[in-house]
């Protein structure tokens, strides 16, 4: 049966406290916090993180398809899933597809992945991420968070069977952004809650239960995507689910993460689920997708991977509020900085940038990054094996640069000795500058370095290992 072979989440390290937002705008403080992307993160980099997490230790199950879902794809014109495939160092043949537009696109991609696997494609990775922008000081701002979640869909050795699914489509104006809008716009909230969310969710759940002949009591957990802390509870009650069955929507800790949110909640539920348990997953946005899932014995074997709780427990407060504005590029007047780059060079040398390939000399065994033609050890010419560099290493030395232009000074640069050989000079990110030291372990994270030559120059930075590894 088609199901979930593996899963992974990613929550950026920064949290914007509701208190910080309240103080900035002179509003009464609210409880909780939300996750916000670092200045160098976007939906692609976050989906890369959750996908690396999802694929960890699964070398035998390389995906033949990569689906990316987001309403905030980094490019309007240019595919993101193909960047994701390269960052994950996957090789062809690969079917890549982007899903966007709808806040439901995470599960729309999931349904497409299920169909693709049923159609014969071996293993499809679904990566969903969102980093939507709310108007500073506006009603949406406290609610919207940034995160990513990934699933690997296949038809053998699945950790979670996908038993059935039911989908409805509905043209409804709940939230939207026209092509020219920067910030999320929304209808009257009581209108969208009652006539959008409740009506759609109810219809989809009832439809699925009818189709499968299941009852609320058959589910250990009901994962009702929710943009706030109340709507899903009212829904559950109306549909006959107990409060104890309802999955926490994470809105007080991560925020509502758009296209990634339902999958993020699913990951949270799977982190806790036991083999044999049945789960209901319902996602909302321009209609609904509803799924019946059942955990298998394999689920326990995936637990060694980085859990959602590990990400939740490893955070930094983003303060003051102005820093958040700067991270999102909402502070105007700063002199632009225009690094050299070249799409031609980026293409020619893609293997050593996005794929992080190096070479190993066939004559003397020396691992070298960047790739070279003549071995720096034995001087043999063109006698190398191209290899994937490790994405973990140790800081050999570092410096803290206060003048390099960045939205988040200072810039820490580290000489990193990679596991398995080679040394790479990398920017550090997601760090507490005072805690950097020689010998510390770091892992690599794909980030947006700059927009030289007017495209997004993705490359690797390093950071302290998140959530204790």
């Amino acid at each position: 049966m088609v199901g979930i072979k593996s899963y992974g989440a990613y929550i950026p390290i920064y949290r914007l406290k509701q208190e910080t937002i309240g103080q900035a705008w002179g509003r009464p403080p609210r409880q909780g916090e939300k996750a916000v992307a670092n200045f160098d993160e976007d939906s692609l980099t976050m989906a890369t993180e959750s996908s690396i997490n999802c694929l960890a230790g699964l070398d035998q199950a390389r995906p033949g398809g990569v689906f990316f879902a987001s309403t905030t794809a980094p490019y309007k014109e240019k595919q993101t899933s193909s960047i994701l495939a390269a960052a994950l160092d996957l090789s062809n043949p690969i079917r890549s597809a982007d899903f966007g537009g709808s806040l439901r696109s995470g599960t729309i991609a999931l349904r497409a992945a299920i169909d693709a696997v049923k159609g014969g494609l071996k293993n499809v990775l679904v990566g969903a991420a969102d980093s939507r922008l709310a108007e500073p000081g506006g009603d949406q701002e406290p609610q919207i968070g940034d995160a990513a979640a990934s699933l690997l869909i296949g038809d053998s050795d699945v950790a979670v069977e996908i038993e059935d699914a039911f989908t409805i489509c509905d043209d409804f104006l709940d939230t939207w952004r026209k092509a020219s809008d920067i910030y999320v716009l929304a209808s009257d909230s009581r209108f969208s809650q009652s006539r959008g969310y409740m009506r759609n969710m109810e219809e989809a759940v009832k439809g699925l239960l009818q189709q499968t002949d299941l009852r609320p009591g058959d589910f250990a957990k009901a994962i009702f995507q929710s943009a706030d802390a109340r709507g899903h509870l009212a829904l559950a009650k109306k549909l006959g689910f107990e409060a104890s069955q309802v999955q926490d929507p994470l809105v007080g800790s991560v925020g509502y993460c758009g296209a990634a949110h339902a999958l993020l909640m699913l990951v949270a539920a799977l982190d806790e689920a036991r083999p044999g348990e049945r789960l209901l997953l319902v996602n909302y946005g321009d209609g609904c997708d509803a799924f019946v899932l059942r955990a298998t014995e394999k689920l326990g074997q995936l637990r060694a991977r980085r859990s959602l709780k590990a990400y939740l427990g490893d955070s930094k407060s983003l303060t003051p509020y102005q820093k958040y504005l700067k991270f999102r590029g909402l502070v105007v007047g700063e002199k632009g900085h225009d690094p050299f780059s070249s799409p031609i060079m980026y293409w020619r040398e893609q293997n050593q940038y996005l794929r992080l390939h190096g070479v190993r000399c066939r004559s003397c065994g020396r691992v070298q990054y960047p790739m070279v033609r003549v071995c720096r050890g034995c001087r043999a010419k063109d006698n190398f094996d191209e290899i994937s560099m490790s994405r973990k290493g140790q800081v050999f030395s570092f410096e803290i640069d206060h003048y390099f232009p960045t939205p988040d000074p200072p810039t820490v640069m580290a000489e990193v000795d990679m596991e398995g050989g080679g040394r790479i000079l990398l920017q550090m990110t997601d760090l507490d500058v005072a805690k950097v030291q020689v010998g510390m372990s770091v892992e690599l994270a794909l980030r947006s370095m700059h927009h030289g030559a007017k495209f997004i120059n993705y490359y690797w930075k390093c950071r302290p290992i998140r959530g204790g590894g």
Binding site: H337, D338, P339, F340, S341, S342, M345, Y346, Y353, V367, Q368, Y369, P370, R376, G377, F396, S397, F398, E399, I400, D401, H402, Y403, F404, P405, T406, P410, T411, M413, E415, D417, G421, G422, R423, I424, L425, Q427, V438, M449, H450, G452, N457, Y459
Partner: protein
Amino acid sequence: MNRPRPKGEMSIKDKVAIVGVGSTKFGENFEMSYDDLLVEAIYEAVEDAGIEARDIQAAWLSTAFPDAGVYKGRSGMDLADATALFDIPITRVSNYCAAAGDALRNAMTAILSGMYDIVLAVGVEKLRDRPPRESLIAMNADTGHPFFQKGITAPGTFAMLATRHFHRFGTTKEDLALVSVKNHRHGSFNPKAQYGSLIDVQTVLKAPLVSEPLGVLDCCPTTDGAAAAILMRADDARARKRHFVSIKGQAFVAAGGNDSPFYDPDWDLVGWPATKLAGEIAYQQAGIKDPLEEIDVAEVHDCFTITEIIVSEDLGFCKKGDGPKLVRDGVTTLGGKLPINTSGGLLSCGHPIGASGLRMIYNLTKQLEGKAGKVQVEGAKLALAHNLGGPGAIVAVTILGAE
């Protein structure tokens, strides 16, 4: 890593003479253009040599970063234009901060070849028509490889070694500060230095941070300036019965690229193989066995405080890790056994990139001719100039002797 060692060059000792030197005042020379700087330095050197500018038969122009400055120095044409030195071969030398040391080497080999009798090596950099953030920092942020070294600035390059030196040998920020204090004191005697004031350790330690562990007083400033030298065959110089100094040894080593050293897992980041190798070759040429005992005065590339410490070790003035002790014990201070950077060095003179290597030659020539004024090292006979570039991967070492 085993690197093949150069072997079998002709002996160059005492074959080439520096017969005249010139230098502008280094600093924020807002009143002077690139051309003004060239004219000032060259005409002082010409006068010092007792020749006419039109006697120059070939020239090497060192400007490291035309595009960070005023877009001058992209070619030898800019020297011809500024000084009306038409109809002779002029080559622009580009080798990062070691460009002037390389210009001198090119001029020297031209004399050695026998093809020319009188040649000019001149270095000039006009950086202060722009704020530093728009010249050298912009160079790191906006030009260069899109990813490799992105995030590092020139001080960061050297701060990376400071961190490692601290880690390996327990070197401290106070140790670095002592280099700055010493060189600022030396520079206070030099009317051509950018900085003329004395500083103390606390001032250095409390200065704004640039690239930790380096603060602003661990760093040389952004500077305008030019320096020039006129070269002849030593035999011709002797026949003229005028003052000159002779080249006893000269080595130039490119030990890596601008990016590649940072990607070399064998680099210990507490020394520069290029400095060590260039020093060894130059010592061999000059017949120097014990540099600390034999050399009377040295100008080394103190672009940052840590650089002087590490270079002192690499040049064999002390063993690896003992660089801070050399400073603390006063060995390298005026009056010490081997005074280093009696000019004030890059830290106090400033660092007009393409000029610094020849500014060192200017100061050492004055020392060897007994014309160094308040910083004169009594009886100085043998002097060393060390000029380093990029991440330390290119180095010129020149040994000069009094005649």
